[in-house]
């Protein structure tokens, strides 16, 4: 056990030196970011698997970790710069396709109407069911 811990420690130390050394090489930016991210992921995995004993944990703990990772992944995706910079209501002013803005407005109205429609349907069903039951008594 202790040997494993020391081996993981050595790996973490070496990876730290590597990730710092790589930045001195002045690689192309996407490559540098890719290498730094890969090393960080490996280091995080080593710490979680061996120091936090995730390796010998059971399903439920994995499920918790998985949910956290999925949510963070979603967060990262939602915040992607391209999407963050997109302007949902700039269709017409940005010279988008004709009719796009009108379609957008109708889409919004439809989505707004949907919950009302659902609530009214369910309420009607409940009222009808109650009336039916009442008439039998």
């Amino acid at each position: 056990m202790v040997k494993t811990y020391l081996a993981v420690f050595a790996a973490l130390a070496i990876l730290t030196v590597v990730t710092v050394t790589v930045t001195q090489l002045h690689l192309a930016r996407p490559v540098a970011i890719g290498i730094a991210a890969t090393i960080a992921v490996v280091k995080v995995s080593l710490i979680a698997l061996f120091f936090m004993h995730l390796k010998s944990e059971r399903g439920l703990i994995y499920a918790i970790v998985f949910i956290a990772l999925v949510l963070v992944g979603l967060l990262g995706f939602i915040l992607l710069p391209d999407i963050a910079h997109a302007c949902a209501v700039c269709f017409s002013s940005q010279g988008g396709a004709p009719g796009l803005a009108r379609g957008f407005y109708w889409g919004t109205l439809l989505l707004l109407a949907l919950p009302f429609f659902l609530v009214i349907t369910i309420a009607t069903a409940i009222v009808l069911a109650a009336k039916k039951k009442g008439s039998h008594v």
Partner: protein, 207 residues
């Protein structure tokens, strides 16, 4: 990790304390995840995100701090291994080393703050400054929290208590080889703090 003899049956089959700490860590992932994603978005997308030159960031000191935290993580896990074997002096030694390294980390961080502030990287001076102090500050608070947790473990294991059931080996505290779950939980938290730094270091200093 192997469960201790005292572990009670729980509905989930996992000790409640462990389940709790993992849920807490999952929420911490979201906390740091939120800040880190906004940092990435603004760094990639904002036209006014100026990154200070590398010389000003002080990479060597941050690298030393990375080593300090990694070492403290391994001493923490060795402390857990020691208490599982019932080796009291090794446990106390490793846990004290973990605490000491935590303080060293904060000391170096304080020096870095002082230095950066003097060089003009301030909290409200630039986007980078805001993110730098928010992210490392939040992480620093977690380090302080870990130091408190670890101090409690050290005190509870070494000072005599009523619950102490030493088997002639000097374990007189409320944390003993038979009741060492909390050492594991403190370790989980401490490794998480290390893990966050491993992510912050390349994000703030290297890329």
């Amino acid at each position: 990790m192997s469960t201790t003899a005292e572990t009670l049956e729980t509905a989930t089959g996992i000790p409640n304390g462990k389940l709790g700490i993992w849920l807490f860590l999952a929420s911490e992932v979201m906390l740091f995840g939120g800040i880190i994603s906004s940092y990435i978005v603004l760094r990639m997308g904002s036209p006014i995100f100026g990154v200070p030159p590398r010389e000003m960031l002080g990479v060597p000191l941050a690298m030393i701090n990375t080593f300090v935290l990694i070492t403290s993580s391994v001493t923490m896990v060795l402390a857990l291994a020691s208490i599982q074997k019932g080796n009291r002096s090794a446990f106390a030694g490793y846990l004290s080393a973990t605490l000491l390294l935590g303080f060293v980390f904060l000391g170096i961080k304080a020096y870095e703050y002082h230095h950066k502030w003097a060089e003009g990287i301030t909290l409200s001076g630039s986007l980078f400054g805001s993110f730098y102090y928010t992210m490392t500050g939040l992480h620093g608070l977690h380090v302080i929290g870990g130091l408190i947790f670890n101090s409690y473990i050290l005190v509870a294991s070494l000072t005599p208590s009523r619950r102490g059931d030493s088997k002639g080996e000097g374990w007189s505290g409320s944390i003993t080889p038979e009741h060492h779950d909390r050492v594991e939980y403190a370790g989980l938290y401490w490794h998480f703090v290390d893990l966050v730094w491993v992510v912050l270091f390349p994000l703030l200093y290297l890329i």
